[in-house]
């Protein structure tokens, strides 16, 4: 019996050690350094022109959004050295990092067609180069998107059909990304000044892009809008994850749940919630 106990303890310890290696939990943030001065670091969320201006899906539906709610949480900016490569995996190695922990629901469709990316929040941060960003997408605890991780409300039109839609997506996610890729540099914070970082969402990955060829990479992996339109009742698409699981084909539902919307500008992120 005693031998069994020894073996059981050994087995348990080894299993625990193995499992402990699977996590990618960010480390606690060190204190903000005052030696280099501080500035204001803004965290922003951006649905890009696809959300602000609408677009035509890969299957020909003209989509416009009235509201598109997401709830980022635990946004963490890193001064990563060496620079972080999301494709290589792991987590940023940073002596300086700052976080905006509180979940904040924002509407990516707010403002006009030329509106700036949506401000999620700002923190005082040590001056320096913030070249990596991690964040979580969590379920809204209250407000218009209560209970949803992503809530899309708008209209879709094709030929002589117009369908209002309200699509509520579930499934919390966590992402880690490298430097922002785009027309401008982000995250370069000078003492006494303001810089921003951006969590970018590519909804064309979900619906496809009618301006791209049908066999383009962006459209091969997209659902389009037709599978959602097929779930319309009484002239409206009003679905949550349960309805989507019941109504979509297994292939389309798998695509939906595996959809990777998170970017930093055009740079890609690693979905750490799948690790």
């Amino acid at each position: 019996m005693a031998t069994w106990r020894v073996h059981l303890v050994g087995l348990t310890l080894l299993t625990a050690l193995l499992l402990s290696g699977c996590g990618n939990t960010p480390t606690a943030a060190p204190p903000v350094s005052s030696e280099v001065g501080t500035g204001t670091l803004e965290f922003r969320a951006n649905g890009e022109d696809f959300v602000r201006q609408g677009f035509v899906t890969s299957d020909g539906w003209a989509i416009s959004f009235d509201h598109l709610y997401v709830t980022p949480a635990n946004l963490t900016a890193y001064q990563s050295d060496p620079p972080f490569d999301a494709d290589a995996g792991g987590m940023p190695q940073a002596a300086v990092q700052v976080s905006l922990e509180k979940p904040t629901t924002v509407d990516l469709a707010a403002g006009d067609a030329q509106a700036d990316p949506i401000l999620v929040g700002a923190v005082e941060a040590a001056a320096g180069r913030y070249n990596a960003l991690a964040w979580e997408l969590v379920r809204a605890a209250d407000g218009p998107a209560d209970g949803a991780v992503i809530l899309m409300e708008g209209r879709a039109a094709k030929d002589d059909v117009m369908l209002p839609f309200r699509i509520s997506l579930d499934g919390e996610r966590a992402y880690v990304c490298g430097d922002f890729v785009g027309d401008e540099r982000k995250g370069i914070l000078q003492a006494g000044e303001t810089a921003d970082l951006e969590a970018t969402f590519h909804f064309d990955h979900l619906f496809g892009d009618g301006s791209a060829p049908p066999d383009a990479d962006i459209n091969r992996g997209a659902l389009g809008f037709e599978p959602f339109a097929a779930l319309a009742q009484d002239g409206m698409v009003d679905v949550d994850m349960s309805a989507l699981q019941a109504g979509l084909s297994a292939e389309d539902y798998a695509k939906l749940t595996e959809m990777h919307l998170a970017h930093v500008g055009e740079g890609h992120c690693q979905n750490t919630s799948e690790s």
């Binding site: 050994g10 290696g21 494709d87 690790s275």
Partner: protein, 168 residues
């Protein structure tokens, strides 16, 4: 050997978790890949994840001492290739951003001080990083993961040996 029979199989169970460790490797989405080689100049090759070249992609290069203003801009050729010679008097991390069709990536190329000499760039080759290394350990695994994987292999060998010893 008292207790040897009870070692037969269950000490091998942790080995079943090794595939799970493999699954714990980072999950990456679609996107683009930029590789480079170092010779007399830096030669980049930019491809989408499916292997297609990023033909005509926009290239923006930032020098180490000015990460805001581009040091050079250009476009990839039809094969997704782009070549440039960094200023050897500006050592540090040269950043190269490549973008096309809503996809993009940045690679960071460390360049050592005093790379250029009268003999040309060749003498500075060793001061370049020849390939990008994953952050946080070998192959993207943390040191703890590597340690546990090594311990599991050793443990598995011991268990296997005990299993066959016990059968005799």
């Amino acid at each position: 050997m008292p207790g040897a029979k009870s070692i037969r199989w269950y000490y091998l169970l942790p080995l079943l978790l090794l595939p799970a460790l493999a699954l714990a490797a980072p999950v990456t989405a679609h996107g683009s890949n930029i590789s480079y080689t170092i010779g007399p100049a830096v030669a980049l090759v930019a491809q989408f994840d499916n292997g297609e070249p990023m033909a005509g992609a926009q290239v923006t290069i930032y020098a180490p001492d000015d990460p805001v203003n581009p040091w050079m801009t250009g476009t990839c050729d039809a094969e997704g290739r782009f070549t440039f010679m960094p200023d050897p008097d500006r050592p540090g991390n040269w950043e190269v951003q490549v973008r096309q069709s809503g996809h993009g990536d940045i690679v960071v190329i460390p360049v050592g001080a005093g790379m250029a000499t009268a003999a040309g760039m060749g003498e500075g080759v060793a001061r370049y990083a020849p390939v990008m290394q994953p952050v946080g350990g070998v192959g993207g695994y943390t040191p703890l993961q590597l340690l546990v994987m090594g311990a599991s292999v050793v443990w598995g060998c011991v268990g296997t040996a005990l299993f066959f010893i016990n059968r005799k």
